[in-house]
Amino acid sequence: MTGFLVQQLVNALTIGAIYALIALGYTMVYGVLRLINFAHSEMFMVGGHVGFFLLAAAASLTGGPASVLVVFAIFVATFIAVGLLGVGIEATAYRPLRGASRLAPMLSALGVAIILQNVVMLFVSRRPLPFPAFMLSMSFDVFGAVVTLNQIFIVLFAIALMVGLGWFVNATTLGIKIRAVSENMRTAQLLGINVNTPISLIFFIGPGLGALAGILYAGYYGIVVFSMGFIVGLKAFIAAILGGIGSIPGAMLGGFALGILETFGGGLLPRLTHGAIGSEYRDIFAFSVLVLVLIFRPAGFFGESVTEEGMVYKRDF
């Protein structure tokens, strides 16, 4: 039994780390623009594909599996490429609608998501592509569970990225500007901050992190396909809401929390119901969490609870 539980915990933390990285993108954009960026799930998918092609190019140049340095360079290149894509999308699809109603940018985001999915499906491949493993396949026996080097890498790398983002947002000038624009865009403008810079930066970092999550996911499962963004993106969005949308620590915690809820729920269901309900109902857990959170605590863990005093300070004039 210990082995079973430890194994589920390891699986949960791995998928939770990936959800957390994607959730950061949703939460940062919402915090600043009050916009749910539906196109973010496709950044995740595009990142996986960009990583696929870069790894294939590296393999054809060196004739063998990529070295650590090359893999690191591919990570950086993918981050930058998809980050620039995110900035481009913001400039063309969201910025012109900044003064319009709350609904318009959201619908625009949905349109961008559909375009990206179909572009990849039509121009890259409709079939799933096998993603090469960039990690040595080593595994360790921990209390009866099998933990692979890949899983350890994903969790540690994701945590390192989140710590890095936390430092950036809290300790640098650009980070202060991001937080200021996130609190109140109008006041920040009155204080002389050019809001376009922090916003573009958010649309660079968020999609970049989503792209790295895409590579981690593709490397872990060994597959990349045009439709992989939809469900994973939706669950990461739920993780962002669970943690409190608009809060960066919230997205991190929400990601891991959702991973644990989903994996333990899906793993224990067959045992508890003696096989009547199988683990394929795992997705139901994720979506039930969404419904419960919205009903009982819409602000999530760390989100801003809407109170009278809070409304006075945060109201957009």
Binding site: F4, Q7, R127, A133, Y221, G275, S279
Partner: protein, 372 residues
């Protein structure tokens, strides 16, 4: 005078046209999804048979044309294409579909318009409706689920099995057959679980299977699921013998799971290796000459299916119509590349054949029956 001449000329042309019209055979299969290799090479096999028939003079001097369509393995597309083929009067027979989940609904459409339908799908439900225009010249899943069970029980002396299926018509069908045959033979099924066909993460199911420690694990489903499942099964340290059904008979299985993880996996398939009899050896040479590549897993079946229809057309006589072809197909007595082709009252093949292959290195080796 001039008007009379033009009318006579036009009458002459239109009178001559029907005699030289092409005879069209429609085909629908998965050409662009994960099973694209199956679908494209399957239809290439048909094309080879049609090229040979045309070179020999066609049917009563009329040329045969293969109309290829992509159903994407999707029943919605399959039924749409079925209606399209039905509405096109120049199409007198179809070889459709490839996936059981697509054939079952599309067969209703083909039956309504009386289209002779030869299918490659293996699920037993395909012939359950008893359509007189539907023929299946390939082993069905009663055999495909039964043979691995028999092999596991008798050759491997397995006592326990864990079964996973992808809740689709084909995957669940073949897993059900394996389960009942394994239990009938005295084995014990430790768990029977379903996963979603689009899942990439099977860790929950596999972690559960790990606690059961079965001798054999059977996965009923298609690529990429079966490849990913096998990969994760081995990565979690489960060493049970692995069995999968014919959609896994692809090099993609070995590349997705990794050669180390795929080694020893058993896959059931309906065709013997291409070097196992002289007819297949010649077929492979002809295919390579025509398409510049190795024949795919189902190319020989595609060739067979087209050849069966061509034989039926020859028996139809001067007028090649849908009804005549159905009649001709009923009376098929044909010595195909993989054995005799004759249909029973339900359109099933009277003498089906099934083979078990083992993954060895980067390819498949025939494991059972040893002498085909």
């Amino acid at each position: 005078m001039r008007i009379a001449l033009t009318i006579a000329a036009l009458a002459g042309i239109t009178a001559a046209a029907p005699a030289l019209a092409d005879i069209k055979i429609g085909t629908a299969g998965p050409l662009s999804n994960a099973e694209a290799l199956f679908g494209n090479t399957w239809q290439n096999g048909m094309q080879l048979a049609i090229n040979e028939a045309n070179a020999a003079g066609g049917i009563n001097g009329q040329k045969l044309v293969l109309v290829r369509q992509d159903d994407q393995g999707d029943p919605k597309q399959g039924t749409l294409l079925a209606q399209k083929f039905c509405d096109d009067d120049s199409i007198v027979a179809v070889i459709a579909d490839f996936n059981s989940g697509v054939t079952i609904p599309s067969s209703d459409v083909y039956n309504r318009c009386g289209m002779p339908q030869v299918t490659n799908s293996s699920n037993p439900k395909v012939t359950a409706a008893g359509y007189q225009n539907l023929f299946r010249p390939i082993a069905n899943d009663f055999m495909q689920g039964g043979a691995p069970a028999e092999y596991a029980l008798e050759t491997l002396h397995a006592k326990t099995a864990a079964i996973v299926h992808d809740k689709q018509a084909f995957g669940e069908g073949v897993a059900t057959v394996f389960r009942s045959d394994f239990e009938k033979g005295g084995g014990k099924v430790t768990s029977y679980s379903g996963v979603a066909a689009t899942d990439v993460d099977f860790s929950a199911v596999i972690t559960q299977i790990k606690t059961e420690n079965p001798d054999v694990v059977y996965y009923g489903g298609t690529m990429p699921g079966v490849g990913l499942f096998l990969k994760q099964l081995r990565e979690l340290g489960i060493k049970s013998r692995f069995f999968a059904a014919d959609p896994a008979f692809l090099p993609d299985l070995i590349t997705t799971a990794g050669p180390a993880n795929a080694a020893g996996a058993m896959v059931s398939f309906q065709a013997p290796p291409y070097d196992s009899n002289p007819k297949l050896v010649k077929f492979r040479q002809d295919y390579k000459k025509a398409f510049n590549e190795e024949p795919g897993p189902y190319s020989a079946y595609g060739y067979n299916e087209a050849a069966i229809i061509i034989e039926a057309m020859k028996k139809a006589g001067a007028k090649v119509t849908r009804e005549n072809i159905v009649k001709g197909l009923r009376d098929t007595k044909f010595d195909g590349m993989m054995g005799p082709v004759e249909f029973d009252a339900k359109g099933e093949l009277k003498q089906p054949s099934l083979y078990l292959y083992k993954v060895d290195g980067n390819g498949f080796v025939l494991e059972w029956p040893k002498s085909s």
